[in-house]
């Protein structure tokens, strides 16, 4: 039996796949680097530092040790028997990223980037955040590594996610509300980039997802691919074979690519990404970028973008702040175009139903982001039938979403009436 906690292979040394970027960061027609010249030197420096770091056994040993002892990985692969019975289709396995430190897969990425920041001799980190999960993870890593930390967050989101603002501040980070544009995640990214242009000599930008200019999509994937590497081994150990399908939600795409990478070159494994369908793609109020967007350039990469006829970015809508982004990581655009992965929209209502279902059947409250993966994967489980196995990434826990859930399900109202 493989003991993953002592396995010598680092999470960072995963094999290359047939879907990797070229030297310039191009995944087929997508990716690349569309950035102000002022930041190119820093991106080149980061690219070299990252490549050198992953080739350095000392760096990798430290990365693995922090992921294990501090973040709590490998996360468990849970055989969800009750859920399987309830759905009545394929056997459902849940990758429990919700049990990681700070409550989501995001900690894997920030610990990698923060460790690299230390190695590069920089003293300050900046980050953008939507829901606040990446901001909290960044503030956590900054506290751990003794780095100054500033988090940019859309002013709309600082109000929606006040508790996460408090968490970041408690961890010692400075949170800057961004009022420009639509005052949400995309504008927080703009503002972080503006900071970075002026501070790049001593500051690292901890990008929160597998999007943005090269090397971020590839680097963030490498820091999160432990999800899939672990899940692959765990599934083999548990079931004796690979899953028939793997599924994840897709915002920018870090948890999804972190899971998918280990299975890209196993053609028998179907790969599904579930995008935020908001009120329904047909209403125009959604964030289903791959399903309904067009090729364009946003935040430094060519990818699918929700945009109008003039190339102006269109505001996205999702009940899940962590998925509410009008772009998507370029590797997902490539996987969609090549047909290696299938991307489907899941509405707010379907996600909230799945969230409640998991809570009642398994006693697990997932993040609303992860509930998108559940809702979509339930259909896949029914399509594939009882002989199949579907592995779902439970990317985060739902604590941060209780206010939204309370409103959605009118929770607590009956209790109030009795008082």
């Amino acid at each position: 039996m493989t003991d993953l906690t002592t396995a010598p292979a680092s999470a960072l040394t995963g094999a290359p796949t047939s879907y990797d970027a070229d030297e310039q960061g191009w995944f087929g027609d997508f990716g690349g680097r569309f950035m102000p010249e002022a930041l190119v030197a820093a991106l080149d420096e980061l690219t070299v530092a990252w490549r050198e770091a992953v080739a350095d056994p000392a760096f990798m040993a430290e990365f693995d040790a922090i992921q294990r002892d501090y973040a709590g990985t490998p996360s468990r692969l849970y055989d969800a028997e009750r859920l399987t019975r309830r759905i009545g289709g394929a056997r459902i396995l849940l990758k429990r990223e919700d049990l990681n430190h700070t409550g989501a897969h995001k900690i894997r990425n920030v610990l990698g980037q923060a460790l690299l920041t230390k190695r590069m001799g920089k003293s300050r980190v900046i980050a953008e955040t939507g829901a606040g999960q990446h901001g909290v993870a960044s503030a956590t890593a900054a506290a751990y590594f003794e780095l100054d930390c500033t988090v940019y967050m859309g002013a709309v989101d600082t109000r929606r996610q006040a508790l996460n603002v408090a968490r970041m501040e408690l961890l010692g980070a400075k949170v800057v509300p961004v009022e420009s544009g639509s005052a949400t995640l995309k504008d927080a990214i703009n503002e972080a980039m503006r900071d970075w242009v002026a501070s790049v000599d001593h500051t690292a930008y901890l990008f929160g997802t597998a999007a943005g200019p090269h090397p971020f999509p590839s680097m963030v994937r490498d820091f999160t691919r432990g999800i899939g590497d672990e899940a692959r081994e765990q599934c083999l150990e548990l079931t004796g074979r690979l899953p028939d399908a793997v599924a994840a939600c897709v915002g920018g795409g870090s948890n999804a690519i972190g899971l998918f990478t280990a299975f890209l070159d196993d053609p028998e494994v179907r790969i599904y990404g579930f995008e935020p369908g908001g009120d329904g793609v047909e209403t125009g109020r959604h964030a289903a970028t791959i399903h309904a967007g067009d090729s364009g350039v946003l935040h430094g990469a060519r990818t699918f973008v929700l945009q109008d006829e003039d190339g102006q970015t269109v505001e996205s809508h999702s009940i899940s702040a962590g998925l509410d982004y009008p772009g998507v990581g370029p590797q997902h655009a490539h996987l969609a175009k090549t047909g290696r992965a299938e991307y489907r929209p899941v509405t707010d209502a379907q996600s909230m139903d799945a969230l409640a279902l998991l809570a009642r059947t398994e006693g697990i409250i997932p993040a609303i982001e992860s509930a998108h993966a559940l809702a979509g994967a339930f259909d896949v489980a029914r399509e594939l039938g009882p002989d199949a196995t579907v592995l779902i990434n439970l990317s985060g826990r739902g604590d941060k979403d209780m206010e939204t859930a309370r409103e959605w399900f009118a929770l607590g109202e009956k209790t109030q009436e009795q008082v």
Binding site: E37, A38, D187, G311
Partner: protein
């Protein structure tokens, strides 16, 4: 019409050129045309017409506010061609400064054709470096347009060499590590950057980011071929709000001060 005509004229007068920026559609399309005409009349040698974009990562609060106002007022990409046409009619070269996505969405070849058709001189591309995409250079060359890429204090000598080799018209040297916005002092990073750039090319080198007064313009004109001013013009119009006539008068005064500056340098 390439911008090189304007740089040659300035050079023959033994002075630097003054390049003025304003976003199209701000305060509205006709308002931006009137403002650009006033800047030409008061001494701008080259005009940069900005194309308002929803996600301007290289811009500070002043230009962001102007772009947002233009977009909220219904600005369309095609309006930029009308604006360019009006400036070109004055005999002053007009280049468009734009983030890349609106061009890609419009169609790179179609954008080049319509820009050339409007009498435009070329494009300045703040988030497109020569190595990011091969489509623009071929479209620009096919339509005889200037390609103006940026160099920055952080650029290595190798990147400067690669960038200037891809430029036509002039080279845009960003004086500071930061976003657009008026600053009270000129940057000490600009002069060495201009020297490194001039060592790599015979093209004119313009310095932008942060210039707002005639004195700053004079300082830069001592070592650069052009002084590029943006946020200070935008600020002037923003400060005058609905008082359009007052805004144009103030714009004229500012342009004259800057035009005097480039002659003192």
């Amino acid at each position: 019409m390439s911008t090189s005509v304007a740089f040659e004229k300035a050079r023959s007068d033994d002075r630097a050129a003054l390049v003025g920026y304003l976003p199209a559609g701000f305060p509205d399309v006709d308002g931006s045309i009137a403002a650009l005409e006033a800047m030409v009349a008061a001494g701008c040698d080259v005009i940069e017409v900005g194309l308002p974009y929803s996600d301007p990562v290289m811009d500070g609060p002043t230009i962001q506010a102007a772009a947002q106002q233009a977009l909220e007022g219904g600005f369309r990409v095609r309006d930029v061609f009308r604006t360019v046409e009006a400036v070109a009619a004055t005999g002053t070269p007009a280049v468009v400064m734009t983030y890349w996505n609106p061009v890609e969405r419009y169609g790179v070849e179609r954008f080049a054709r319509d820009l050339a058709g409007a009498g435009g001189a070329g494009l300045i591309t703040p988030d497109l470096t020569p190595d990011s995409d091969p489509h623009w250079p071929s479209a620009a060359d096919a339509h005889d347009l200037d390609k103006v890429y940026l160099v920055a204090p952080s650029s290595t000598d190798e990147r400067i060499a690669m960038t200037v080799a891809a430029c036509r018209g002039f080279v845009y040297a960003t004086a500071v590590m930061g976003v657009t916005g008026a600053r009270t002092t000129t940057s000490e990073l600009a002069e060495p950057l201009v020297a490194r750039t001039k060592a790599a090319t015979g093209l004119p080198v313009g310095v932008g980011l942060g210039v707002s007064t005639g004195d700053q313009a004079a300082e830069i004109a001592a070592y650069a071929d052009a002084v590029i001013v943006g946020s200070a013009f935008v600020r002037t119009l923003l400060d005058h709000g609905d008082d359009r006539a007052g805004g144009l008068r103030a714009l004229t005064v500012l342009t004259e001060d800057l035009a005097d500056g480039v002659r003192r340098g």
